[in-house]
Symmetry: C2
Subunit: 168 residues, 2 copies
DNA sequence: GCATACTTTCAAATACTTTTGAAAGTTCAG
DNA sequence: CTGAACTTTCAAAAGTATTTGAAAGTATGC
């Protein structure tokens, strides 16, 4: 398989993966492209590689920056902005986990805690079934929260230990 | 908070959660409804509770059955079909993990293995960057595959400690 | 200040997904 | 076999999400 073909296939695959997980396909494709390129790319490079418009590029790159997956790079002597992506997939995974936890899990835990305070006689089977479900889900959500927090921290501690080694 | 209100809010929340994870909102809402109801519901019950059409109900219930999250229940003496959902959220989570692994992770691992065989001189930095990325992602994908397999096999909550060990 | 090189915005167009509901299909009791 | 009760299908309609591109905005060097 030639590089050009392999690249295209990887971008396709990563795009589909993103789409299946509720992430804009183009955003995932830009991410894929930046992950496999050795040097930062400009908006025009991205437009040309993926055949997308300037507006689309701008919007999705901004979103990737919001997620902490891409950063702006200024090349000395150049007026254009360039973009590069984090290449360590472990870091990428913990970044995504941190972001989705903050955006999705944390608010759900808040809601579940509120829902546990539903009024009503536990002898009513509808009330009982509801309370039981919420309690079960709430417990699970808390366990998940802990696990994800540990996962996120595992990256941080890895990072700091690596950093420390550099200074030793 | 009254039961009716709490129920509606839970269904909303679960629906949004699903939507954020690339799952049809209505499918997630039907799932939420069935999880909190003490007894199986008919298509008509679901249509009335969620204000959706018969076709929509039929299609999404079928999909939930495909995912293994809902089952058909026949009530003796009744001609209608009834539906009930798995209520143990741990079981629900392992079912979903199994299904998404099969549908998404397994095919991606296959693709990644193929992509590793890209031709080209490793002195070309584009080839090198590509190969490095794919190798990194592939390694991560295999680790994830192992972790998820372990998760799927586990049915008990002490599993979380195992999960953490795998990531260390 | 002003021209140039670039980035951002956003209304409109397009593409994609979901939902509806009526017709076709199935099942089953009598 | 027939008709009532129920389920399934699917083309069209409605609803959402994404994309475009041109105009507005911003920064920089002269």
């Amino acid at each position: 398989m030639k590089l050009t073909e392999a690249k295209a296939q990887f971008i396709q695959t990563w795009g589909s993966l993103g789409a299946q997980w509720g992430i804009n396909r183009t955003m995932a494709q830009i991410h894929a492209l930046l992950m496999i390129m050795p040097d930062p790319l400009s908006a025009e490079d991205i437009m040309a590689e993926l055949n997308i418009s300037r507006g689309n590029t701008n919007m999705n790159v901004r979103e990737l920056i919001n997620w902490g997956l891409v950063e702006r790079v200024l090349i000395p002597g150049e007026r254009k902005e360039y973009f590069s992506a984090e290449k360590d997939i472990w870091k990428v995974a913990t970044d995504i986990a941190r972001e989705r936890k903050r955006r999705e899990l944390d608010p759900i835990i808040k809601t579940l805690n509120q829902l546990q305070e539903v009024e009503g006689d536990t002898k009513d089977k509808h009330v009982k079934a509801f309370k039981d479900s919420i309690q079960n889900i709430n417990k699970f959500a808390h366990q998940t929260e802990k696990t994800i927090s540990t996962f996120i921290k595992s990256e941080e501690s890895w990072f700091y230990s690596t950093l420390l080694k550099l200074f030793k």
